[in-house]
């Protein structure tokens, strides 16, 4: 899962980026409003954490521009102004959730998980398929109750595929959602991750659709 973080306060931005990366997200962070808008407008993100008070372009304007351009990724607003009147303004501008500063990092992660699940149509915090259970809360994977240790990238690949269960995910899309922007992408490494995942899980829930991509099929 790839997340865009737009926050102009350097220290908070670093902390949040760390928190998000620690939770298994690929994170693009920017402190500039214009750049934030551009990234959100051009890159495929699974969620955006957006501060409202930004230099060059404020959060509400960014949000309005994205929404009017048809960008529908879930956006959680982060702001010092936590009054309901501000929430109404933010949500009316197209935000999906609202978090007032100060906040606990877990709170942000919980909201983000819920948003991503909701936007990919997953109802529960745990996504299961043929005995493989991915707990979005703890970022842990079990097979028939037995924990499986995955690297960060392996988890990202599996998480994205399981969030989009029943749909063929092209390799390029997978790459876009697994790596942060500044990462040196090599689509061949995806194949390597898929291979490792198949080995570690022991069950073959990830199918290769030749020429198209990968799919985790709905059971039954």
């Amino acid at each position: 899962m790839r997340v865009l973080l737009v926050e102009d306060e350097a220290r908070l931005a670093d902390q949040l980026a760390d928190t998000l990366r620690g939770a298994g997200y690929a994170v693009d962070a920017t402190r500039d409003g214009e750049e934030g808008w551009f990234l959100g407008d051009t890159e495929p993100y699974d969620a955006v954490v957006l501060d409202l008070g930004l230099p060059s372009l404020d959060g509400i304007s960014i949000l309005r521009k994205w929404r009017s351009a048809g960008r529908a990724m879930p956006v959680i607003i982060l702001t010092a102004r936590g009054a309901w009147s501000d929430k109404v303004t933010g949500l009316d501008a197209g935000a999906d959730d609202y978090l007032a500063k100060p906040f606990q990092p877990e709170e942000l992660l919980a909201r983000l998980r819920a948003l991503i699940r909701r936007s990919s149509g997953v109802a529960t915090p745990e996504i299961a398929c043929d005995g493989v259970v991915l707990d979005t809360k703890t970022a842990k994977v079990t097979v028939d109750g037995r924990p499986v240790m995955l690297t960060s990238h392996e988890f990202k690949v599996l998480s994205y595929l399981m969030h989009h269960k029943g749909r063929v995910v092209p390799r390029t899309e997978l790459t876009e959602h697994v790596y942060a922007q500044d990462f040196d992408r090599d689509s061949n490494t995806i194949e390597v991750f898929i291979g490792r995942l198949r080995r570690k899980l022991g069950v073959d829930i990830i199918k290769t659709v030749r020429g198209l991509g990968y799919i985790v099929e709905e059971p039954g």
Partner: protein, 469 residues
């Protein structure tokens, strides 16, 4: 306003005093003038009689005085008729008197005056009459000097004067009353703008208007302009203080967020105790900031006259927001707010109160949240129901109690009622918890209403500085 009445009293009393003084003085002057005129007339008549008397005087061969012919006026012959004459021969010729003097005589004062000069006295005469006397000392052809006097009863003058005075008093009294009534009317008319001013001020005080509206006379308008300027200055001060308080509060939030994140990092490094302390203090500061911010805002809003907001618009915005925030839970949020309902206060505060309560209801509700509002007297009554687990009666008071103690800020405590309760109290509203017919909790809220008929006041929205980092 007793002061306005006393001003009116003062003006009317002043006018009355002046009218009475002027009329009394006028009456006295007129009476005196009239008396002078009457006396001059009497003396003129007496002068004729005197001339006639002198012309008729003769001296007998023995030197005795005599009167060649009777004076023409018959009153000289009727006793005590009020018209008399007397000729004093000064030792030589004896004294001649009119018959009307009967056995009395005119006690002329012994005065030395130039001969042939007529002069007058006021003497008391027969039958206690007060007499106007015209006297002249003449030298007869026999070189004999005689004092010739003619007198008339002053009562005839007084009688005319009394009758005149009576008419004068009645007409002046009528004139005085008329003037007094005119003065009263004038005072009322002149003070009417002040009454209007009083009503406008009352509107401002009741929060129905932000400034003194309307045109006033040139004498009052400067005062009105000054008052308006003062109120605008006041509002601007309040607004600036408010914006500054807001900027300060919001400026603190990002550093607090950093601290909260740092607490988390500490936790991960195993420094659980320090992390807990840090987290607790961050929460405490946050609650304090929120509390003081709300206080500053609501206290300011109460002082800003004419402030109001449409309840329905607040609720619509909140419903949209909450439907988004609780999307995916399949909550049904029903709202029923009459369009005309106005809350007398800041829109932000209205949204803060209802937003917290609705959000709370949404968090606990299983499937339904309902907000209904209606006007009750000069209040707006809002009911917020949910079909959640509710709170039993014993715990309801505690839900409020916890909110009241700022220093006890337990993380995640209560139902977000603290700020709500503070705001409601600041607006002198009421809030109560009850069982909901939907099965969960009912919040019964009463807030001050603004009347729809009053002209709306557009509050200047100050530019927010930055919007928080």
């Amino acid at each position: 306003m007793t002061r306005a009445r006393s001003l009116r009293h003062r003006l009317v009393l002043g006018a009355a005093a002046w009218i009475v003084v002027a009329l009394v003085a006028g009456a006295l002057v007129i009476t005196e003038l009239f008396r002078g005129h009457l006396e001059r007339q009497v003396y003129a008549d007496l002068g004729h009689h005197l001339d006639q008397l002198i012309a008729g005087l003769e001296v007998g061969p023995d030197g005795t005085l005599g009167l060649a012919r009777q004076l023409s006026d018959p009153r000289f012959r009727k006793p005590y008729s009020g018209l008399y004459w007397q000729v004093d021969g000064m030792q030589q010729g004896g004294i001649l008197r009119s018959r009307s003097l009967w056995d009395d005589m005119l006690g002329l004062p012994p005065d030395e005056i130039e001969r042939d000069q007529a002069h007058h006295h006021t003497l008391s005469g027969p039958a206690d009459q007060s007499l106007l006397v015209l006297e002249r000392t003449v030298t007869l052809p026999s070189a004999q000097a005689v004092r010739v006097a003619v007198a008339a009863d002053a009562a005839q003058v007084e009688g005319v004067l009394t009758a005149f005075g009576r008419i004068l008093a009645v007409s002046f009294a009528a004139l005085g009353l008329g003037l007094l009534a005119a003065a009263g009317v004038q005072v009322v008319l002149a003070l009417r703008p002040l009454n209007a001013l009083r009503r406008r001020l009352a509107e401002v005080r009741d929060g129905r208007s932000a400034r003194l509206a309307g045109d006033f006379p040139g004498e009052v308008q400067p005062l009105v302009d000054d008052l308006n300027a003062l109120m605008e200055h006041d509002a601007a001060l309040v607004e600036r203080a408010r914006v500054q308080a807001g900027n300060l509060a919001h400026g603190l939030k990002t550093p607090l967020a950093i601290l909260a994140n740092e607490a988390d990092a500490l936790d991960r490094k195993g420094a659980h105790e320090q992390a807990a302390v840090l987290r607790e203090q961050v929460m405490r500061m946050q609650r304090m900031i929120d509390y003081q911010l709300a206080q500053a805002r609501a206290a300011a809003a109460r002082e800003v006259p004419g402030i109001r907001c449409r309840l329905g618009e607040c609720v619509d915005g909140l419903r949209r927001a909450l439907e988004r925030l609780h999307a995916g839970r399949g909550l049904l949020i029903e709202t029923d707010v009459p369009d005309a309902l106005l809350f007398r206060g800041e829109r932000e505060d209205c949204e803060e109160i209802l937003g917290n309560l609705l959000d709370n209801a949404c968090k606990w509700a299983r499937s339904r949240v309902r907000l209904t509002a209606d006007s009750e007297g000069d209040e707006v009554r809002v009911l917020i129901d949910d079909d959640g687990p509710g709170i039993d009666a014993a715990a309801r008071a505690a839900a409020f109690e916890r909110g009241r103690r700022m220093d006890e800020a337990v993380p995640g405590s209560g139902l977000g009622l603290a700020i709500v309760r503070d705001l409601v109290e600041l607006y002198r509203g009421r809030i109560a918890l009850a069982d909901s017919p939907l099965g969960g909790l009912r919040v019964d809220l009463r807030l001050p209403a603004a009347r729809a008929t009053e002209p709306a006041v557009v509050k200047p929205q100050p530019a927010r500085q930055g919007g928080g980092p």
